[in-house]
Symmetry: C2
Subunit: 218 residues, 2 copies
């Protein structure tokens, strides 16, 4: 019975996700779904990405949080359109919440939509939002065993950003072992080590985004 | 409709949690539910706690994970009874999973039961397991804004352990502001800064545990 309810929810979610995808495509918007543990650096990555894309592409942001609008306020200061979703306790965004938020995003004036999911390594992996790419930010202080413990999230990701590499000298974190563990779960994934604090690696991530956008437009 | 389903689930969970609590009490076991984001240090804390309590009290562990038994294997090496729960995708432990696991825990030979929940700052806060105390481990690299973003978890906690204080020199983390934010949500909470890497603060946490146990036995 419980399984049937879950199937119904995921089926309904998938239908709305497809409508969101059509809306992105008809507006020539690349939509990416940013997922991570709490505090792994989703908002910092969005801020760094916006700064580097200024004058190159038009960015919009959807901010998902259980409560508070702290992140949306920080992003709004960068002068890009940002819409806050407060899930009211739900531990993930879903396609319907995203659809509602899209009503407030000026999609005709956006080339790249960054959707920040709720900080959680479990449930967000199960709910498509209509995004073109799923991005997982995994930060070094969380430890290099996370692919074994949250395999679905690592399996679903198109890109894994290893964030906070500036802290590596102070941690027991084996980047090679971590990357091998990810590739064991997900052969197609691309992995970029980054630091939102020092800026290291961010250019490669931004280049990847620009490549995805040019591929979609050609 | 959805709300009713959720209420039914929580109601059923509460009944089983009460039975678990009776089982703990009849065996004179103090049960604590350890919750945190992924990689905040639950397993490290359990290992440090076991080492310091050797010869003082008999510890047992229930290990909750979505998949893998890495943590249970590490804890088993310390020579304490440990039972693994694999939730098979569920993002939290519940009272029923705990009840099933308790069938394999030698409660008569245990004074303190440490229950490690799934790494998640959202859903575990909603599901009582029958525990006497809820412990939240919040690590400094996650940032000092977490109480605003995951308020239910901070509201439910009896103790917040601020872990990874050895990394403070390399982070923007205001311990005073963090503590004030927690107290704003939860006046009764006790807060201990700790480092499982250097051992700083662990003795105070262990003293707190011993005090709770002696209060229950007197």
């Amino acid at each position: 019975m419980e399984i049937k309810v879950v199937k119904d929810i995921l089926g309904a979610n998938e239908q709305i996700a497809q409508k969101n995808r059509q809306l992105f495509d008809s507006n020539h918007v690349l939509a990416v779904n940013l997922m991570s543990s709490p505090g792994a650096g989703k908002t910092s990555l969005i801020l760094e990405t916006i700064k580097r894309l200024k004058g190159k592409t038009r960015v919009g942001v959807v901010e998902g949080d259980i409560s508070s609008s702290l992140d949306a306020e920080a992003i709004g200061k960068e002068g890009v359109p940002v819409v806050q979703i407060n899930t009211g306790g739900e531990c993930h965004l879903d396609a319907n919440m995203t659809s509602t938020a899209l009503g407030s995003v000026p999609l005709k004036d956006v080339d790249l939509l960054l959707i920040e999911n709720v900080g959680n390594l479990v449930c967000p992996a199960e709910f498509a939002l209509g995004e073109h790419k799923k991005i997982l930010i995994s930060s070094t202080p969380e430890g290099d065993d996370k692919p074994f413990k949250y395999p679905l999230m690592f399996h679903e990701a198109d890109v894994v950003l290893i964030n906070k590499i500036d802290l590596l000298p102070y941690l027991k974190f084996n980047t090679d072992a971590f990357s091998r563990a990810i590739k064991g779960i997900n052969q197609k994934v691309e992995i970029f080590p980054i630091s939102c604090t020092t800026g290291e690696g961010i250019e490669k991530w931004v280049s990847w985004l620009l490549t995805q956008m040019s591929r979609r437009q050609s």
